[in-house]
Assembly symmetry: D2
Homo-oligomer: 402 residues x 4
C-alpha cells in the first residue's frame, strides 16, 4: 500500500498563500477558482487558501469552513499582516477597495482586486500609483475582470488581433439583468451610492466597457450618456438594515441613490462607433452580457447566457455559403481549453475564476506585466466617470482622459 | 361549360384605380401587394393596377408588363390627371415625395407615400398640411411604414396595448445591414444627400423610429446622437452616373455625402429609455431589424430576419417555468393571419405590402383616419432631424418638437 | 397619355391555359403561384388561370372569384375537355389523383399533380405508365413536391451535389405538426383511410421521404417502421359530415382509420443510415419539417419553420473557427432568388408554389424531363408502402422495390 | 490572529473515504465532483479523496497529485481493502466493472459505478444481485448516469411528474458526436468489442436510453434497430497499442469491431413512440445529446450543448401567446441550483459530477434507495441488448424483458 502524504504537485510547485477579504457571492466564486486551478492546469505555484477575512466572526468562520480556507480573520489589516499570505484577494464592495489594496501592496503583497477597481477615479488613481510602486518591487496588481477569461471572449480577442474581422466599424454591447424589475424588490447596499459608487453602471457597465476595449484592442475616447433611476423609493429589507434605514426613509422605504440603467454611445480611438446599455430592469434577461463587433472583413457576436458559444461571420467567404457560425468554444486549441474536457463538454460561469487564478499565478511566477492591470481598471473608471458626467450634462459628448 | 367574364369579386366590389410612381425595388414590392390583396382578403374595393409612371419610356413599359400594370406614363402629372386613377402610390426617392404628394392630394386623389415621408421637416410639414385639407374632402393620405404590417409586430403592439408587458422601461432598436461594408462598393444616389436626404438614418432609422413609437404607443421626446461616414470616397458606378460624377470626384471616385451609420439614445414621453443603431456596415447582418422592449410585467423581442416569430416573456409567470417564448405568429387569431395559410406556414417580406394594400383600401372605404398618417410621418421626420442636430452639436440631448 | 391594352409580357410570351381541380388549401396556394410567377420570373409561357373545378357550384364560383380564375366547372371531365386548358393542376384528395391524371394525360394535357402522387402503389403505377405514354407525345407530368422549391433546400441539394459534405453517413428527418394533439379535435376526411390513403405517413411522410432522397441524390432501399393511432375515436364534425357519419360511429363519434404518427429507420443505397418521424401530435410544433444530413466533409440542417435559413458546417475548416453557419438563403446567387428581393428580405411558404409554377412552365417550354416526375412520385409511394408493410410485420426491415 | 486547523465543516460532518479506480477522462471528472461537492452543498458526510488506483504506478501517482488524492494504488483489490475507503468509485472501461463492483460490495463498500453498468446483461445481472445482497447490509450501489443531474433534465422530470405535459405521445432522442468522422482517426480501445462492449450504442446509447426512461417515468418495452460500422479498418495508434495490434491488422491498420452508429425506434409501456439515434460521425455535432418529449398538454426539448436551457411549451396556453419558452435553468428553485450562483450564471458539464457526489453521499447517509440503482443500469443494458438483437435480426421489433 503506497501511502502518500502530499500530492506530487504539492512537492513540485512552491506554495502561494492566498488571503481573501469578503465571503459573499464573489468570495464563493473566487474560492472555487483557487481550490480548482491547480488540479486542472499545470501551475508554477500552488495556491494555498490560507485565510479569509470578514467583520462578523461567526459568519466568516462558517464561510471558511464552507469554502475551504485554513483560517479566518475579522480585520483585513490582520489578514495582510499574515506571513502565510502572499496574495490579497479583495472581494468587498467598491468603497473599501482602495484602502485595502494600497495597504496590501505597501505591505509587499500581490493583489487581485474585484471590479470595478474603485468607486471614484481618485481612488483608482491612488491604487494605480501604488501598483506602480509595487511593480518595481516585483509585486503584481491585477483587477478582476473575470469575463476576459471566458474562453469564447479570449478566442474572440485572438481572432480580432489576427485581423480576422479587419478594420472595426461597430461595437454594440449590452448587459441586461432583471432582478430590480419588481418595484417591491428591497433596498440593498447595491442601491446606495455611498457603498456601491453607482448602480448598473459600475456593476454591469464596468464589465462591458472593459470587454469592449479589450476586444477592440483600443480605448473609448468619448461618450454620450443617458441614465435613469426608474424606481426611486424601495422598501427597506427585513432584518439588520446595514445602515440603510436612515436618510430619506419614511414608512419603511428608503431612497435609491444609484442608477437603475444607463444607455451610452461613444467612439473608439480608431473612429469605430460604440453603443452600450446596462440595466437591471430588462424583464426575462438574467445575465445577458451581449457583444457584437463588426469589421470590414467579418463580425463576432457573443451572449454570456450561452458562454460556450462564439458567433463568427467571415465576410471574405462567398455569399452563398457565408453566415454567422456557431463556434462551440470547447476545442483543445481554444484558450484555456487544453486542460478541460473533450470537445463539446461545456464550461460555466465559475470557470472564469479558475482561469483568473491560473493567469494571476502565472503572471506572478513569470514577473510579467499583469493583464488587466490597475491602469486598465483606472481607464475603465475614467470611462464610467465620463458617462456619469455626460448624463449629468445633457448627454454632451464627453472626452475620456487618457 | 360555365363561362365567366368576371370573377365574383369583380362584380361585388367597386374598383379603386391605382397609379404608381416609380418602378424599382419599392415599385415591384407594391405591385405584388396590389395584385395580391384582393385575392386573399375580403376587401370593400377592388384594386385595379391602372397605370405606372417613370421617366424612361422603355424601362417603364417593361416594368408595366412585368408587374401587371395596364398603362405606362412618363410624367407623374399625367398620371395624377388620369380619370382611372383614384389613388397615387409614390415609390420614388425622397426628394420628390413632397411635390408629387401635394399635387395628387390637391387633384383629389388618395395618396400612399413611401417612407421616409420627405427629406426635410419643411417638406413633411407641407405634405401634412395638404393631407389635412384633403382629409376634409374625404381623401386618405397614408405613409408606407410597411413593417407595422408584419404580423408579429402588429401582434406585439396588441400585447403592449393590452398591458401584457406593463409600464415600459426600455426599448432597444437596431437596423443592421451590410451592403456598404466593402469600401469598393460604388457610389449611388442613396449616398448623395441631395437625393436621399440622409443615409442609413433616413433609410433604416425612419423604420425603427416609427416602429419604436408605434409599439410603445408614445413618442420620443429627446435624442442624443453620434453618426459617421466611414468611407468618404467611393468609386463612381459604371454606366450613366445619374449626375453623380460632379463635385469632389477625382480619378473616378466621388464623395459620399450621407451617413453610413448612426447610434442614438433617447427618452420616450413616459420616461422609458431608448437606444437605436442603424448601419449599412454590419458585416453578415443582411436585414437585421431588431427590437426589444422591456416592461415591468414582461418583454418582447423581434428580428426581421425571422419575421414570423415574436419572442414574449411573461414576467408574471413563476420563475421556474418562465422564459422567452418563441411564438410562431401564424395562428388564425394573429393579425392579418385569418386570411392566409394554416398555422406554421410562414409569410415573407412582401406580405407587408399585401397587408398595406388591404389596410389602405379599408381605410379609404370606411373613411377612417389613416394609420400611419402623414402627421405620423412628419413626427418621425422631426425625430430624424433632432438626431442630425444632436450629432452636429456634440451629441447634446435634443428635444423633439411636438 | 400612353394607353396599353396588354402588358409587354402578354405580347411576348404565348399563353399556357391552366385548369385546376380543387379549391381548398392547396387550390389557394397553387392559385397564388400561377398568378404571381409571370410577374417575378422571365417565363417562356404566360400562365392563364383559365378554369377552376369543384363539385359545389356556389363554392367553386366563389373560389374562382376569390382566386382569380376566369371560369368555373363542376365536373373535372368538362375541365379537361376545355380548349383553353393545356395544363391540368390536380389539388384534390389522393383518392381521385389517378383517375383525373390519367384522363388528363390521355386527353393530351400536361399535368401537375399534388403529392402524394396516389393513395396506392397500383394507382401510382398506372399514373406513371400514363405519364410515359404522354411524354412520348410531348406532354409533361410533374408531381407537386413543392418543398424541393424552398431555396434553402434547393441550395442544400447543390452543395451536396458539389461534394461539399462528402460521403453521406446520416440523414435524419422529421415532420412534426400538432393539430391533432387534442383528442376532441374532430374527425375529418384526412382521418379516413378510404379518402386520405394514410394519415401522417402520406401527408407528411411523403414530403420528408421525397426530400431525403432528393437531397441525398439516391433512394432508400429498405425501411423498418412503427406507427400508431393514439386517438382511435374522434367526434364527428358539426355540419355536413361528408360521408363520415357511418361505420363505427356511436354517440356522435367515428373511428380514425389512419395513423397519427409513424417512426421509421432505413438505409440509403450508399449505405447511409436514415431516420424519419412524422406526427400530427407534437404539441407546439406547427410545421417543423426538419432535415439534417451528415457527411464525411460536412453537414447541413434545415427547419421549415425558418425556411429562409440553411445551416451548413464545413468540416474541412480548422476546428477553432468551425461551426454550423446560419446561411440566410436570400442572396442573388441562391436558387430562385435572382428574381426576388435584396439580400435579407425573406420569402414564405407560398413562394414554393410560385417557384413550382416557374419550373413546370419552363419544363413544358423546353420539353425537358420533369423533375420530380411521376416515376419519382411512384418511388416515394413504394417507400411509404414498405413503411406500412414493415409496421404491419413487426417492424421487420422491408426492402423498397426499385 | 485566529488559527483554525480544520474547517467548520470538517468538524461537523463525518468523513466518507473515497477510493477511485481509473484516472482518465472520467477519473478527472469524478475527482472534480468529490473535491467540490462539500464546498457547495450542505452534506451529511464529508468526502475525503483517500486513494486512486491505476495499473501504471508513475501515471497513477501523477494523477493522484493532479487530482488531489491522498494515496495511489496499482491493484484495485488493494484499494478495496483499504480501511480509509468506504466508497469505491469505478471509472474504468466496461469490461472490468462487474468484477470490481461485486468485489467491492462483498467487501462491505458502497459503490458508484460509471455507465454503462456492464458490457453484458449477464454481468449486469450479477452486479445487481450483489447490490441486492449489499443493500440488506446497508450498502449503497449507484450507477453513474450523470446526465440525470443536469438541472434542466432534473427539472424536466419534475414537470413531467407534475403532469405539465400530460399523457406522453413521443420521445425523440439523439446523441450525436463527430470524433470518428475522419476515417484516418486511429483505432483505440473504444473501437474494440472485447474492451468497450459496443460502440456508440453503449457509450452514447446508454445515456439516452436511461434519460428517456427517466424522463418518461416508464420503461421501453420493445425496440427495432439498425446499426452500422461505416469505417471498418482504422490505423493503429502510434505508441503502445494496448493490445490492439493483433487480429486482422495488416499494414498498420486494425479492425473496428463495434458500431459507429445506431438508429432505433421503440415503444414505451404506455404506448408512446420513441426514436433514438446515436453516432460518432455527425460532423459538427460535438456533444449534441438532444431530447424532445411531446405530450397531450405540452412538450419539452433539451440539447446538452446548451445544458443550462430547457425548452417548454405549455399547450394549455392560448395559441396567440403560446410557444416554446427558453427557460434558463439557473433559478434558486430549480434542482441543484439552491447552492450555486445567482440567476443567469451558468453551470457546465462537470457540475453533473458535483451533483452526483452530493446525491450519492446523501443516499448513503439517509440509507435511502439509490437512484439510479444497479437494477436501473441492468434495465438499460437489457434495452441495449434488445437493440443489438434487433439489429442482428433484420430490425424485427424485439421485446425488452422486464
Amino acid at each position: 500500500m503506497a501511502r502518500r502524504d502530499q500530492t506530487q504537485q504539492e512537492t513540485a510547485a512552491p506554495p502561494l498563500g492566498i488571503g481573501m477579504v469578503g465571503y459573499a457571492f464573489m468570495g464563493a466564486a473566487h474560492s472555487q477558482g483557487w481550490r480548482t486551478a491547480g488540479h486542472v492546469f499545470d501551475l508554477p505555484m500552488r495556491p494555498v487558501l490560507a485565510a479569509i477575512c470578514g467583520r462578523d466572526r461567526t459568519a466568516v468562520e462558517a464561510a471558511a469552513g464552507r469554502h475551504g480556507w485554513a483560517a479566518a480573520e475579522t480585520d483585513w489589516r490582520a489578514l495582510i499582516a499574515r506571513d502565510d499570505v502572499q496574495l490579497v484577494d479583495i472581494c468587498t464592495p467598491g468603497d473599501s477597495h482602495a484602502e485595502i489594496a494600497v495597504a496590501a501592496l505597501e505591505a509587499g503583497k500581490h493583489v487581485l482586486c474585484e471590479k470595478p477597481l474603485a468607486n471614484t477615479v481618485d481612488e483608482a488613481l491612488a491604487m494605480t500609483a501604488a501598483a506602480g510602486r509595487a511593480a518595481a518591487l516585483g509585486r503584481t496588481a491585477m483587477v478582476g475582470f473575470n469575463y476576459r477569461r471566458v474562453p469564447a471572449l479570449a478566442h474572440a480577442r485572438r481572432l480580432i488581433a489576427d485581423g480576422r474581422i479587419g478594420t472595426l466599424r461597430h461595437i454594440r454591447a449590452a448587459y441586461l439583468q432583471d432582478w430590480l424589475t419588481d418595484p417591491a424588490s428591497p433596498l440593498t447596499w447595491r442601491l446606495k451610492k455611498e457603498r456601491a459608487g453607482s448602480g448598473a453602471l459600475g456593476d454591469l457597465g464596468a464589465h462591458v466597457v472593459d470587454l469592449a476595449q479589450f476586444l477592440a484592442g483600443e480605448p473609448l475616447v468619448a461618450v454620450s450618456a443617458v441614465s435613469e433611476t426608474f424606481v426611486r423609493e424601495r422598501p427597506l429589507p427585513a432584518g439588520p438594515s446595514g445602515g440603510l434605514g436612515g436618510g430619506g426613509a419614511a414608512g419603511g422605504t428608503g431612497a435609491v441613490t444609484v442608477d437603475d440603467a444607463a444607455v451610452f454611445t461613444g467612439r473608439l480611438a480608431s473612429g469605430a462607433l460604440a453603443s452600450f446599455e446596462v440595466t437591471r430592469m430588462a424583464a426575462g434577461r438574467k445575465n445577458a452580457l451581449r457583444l457584437e463587433i463588426n469589421g470590414e472583413r467579418g463580425s463576432l457576436a457573443f451572449d454570456l447566457e450561452r458562454l460556450n458559444e462564439l458567433s463568427f461571420h467571415d465576410h471574405t467567404e462567398p455569399a452563398a455559403t457565408a453566415g454567422f457560425r456557431r463556434v462551440l468554444v470547447t476545442e483543445p486549441d481554444h484558450p484555456y481549453l487544453e486542460a478541460w474536457w473533450p470537445p463539446g463538454h461545456t464550461l460555466g460561469y465559475e470557470h472564469t475564476f479558475v482561469h483568473q487564478a491560473r493567469d494571476v499565478i502565472r503572471t506572478i511566477a513569470e514577473g510579467a506585466p499583469p493583464v488587466p492591470s490597475f491602469a486598465d481598471g483606472l481607464q475603465v473608471q475614467r470611462v464610467l466617470a465620463a458617462v456619469e458626467e455626460s448624463a449629468a450634462k445633457n448627454s454632451v459628448l464627453t472626452p475620456v482622459p487618457l
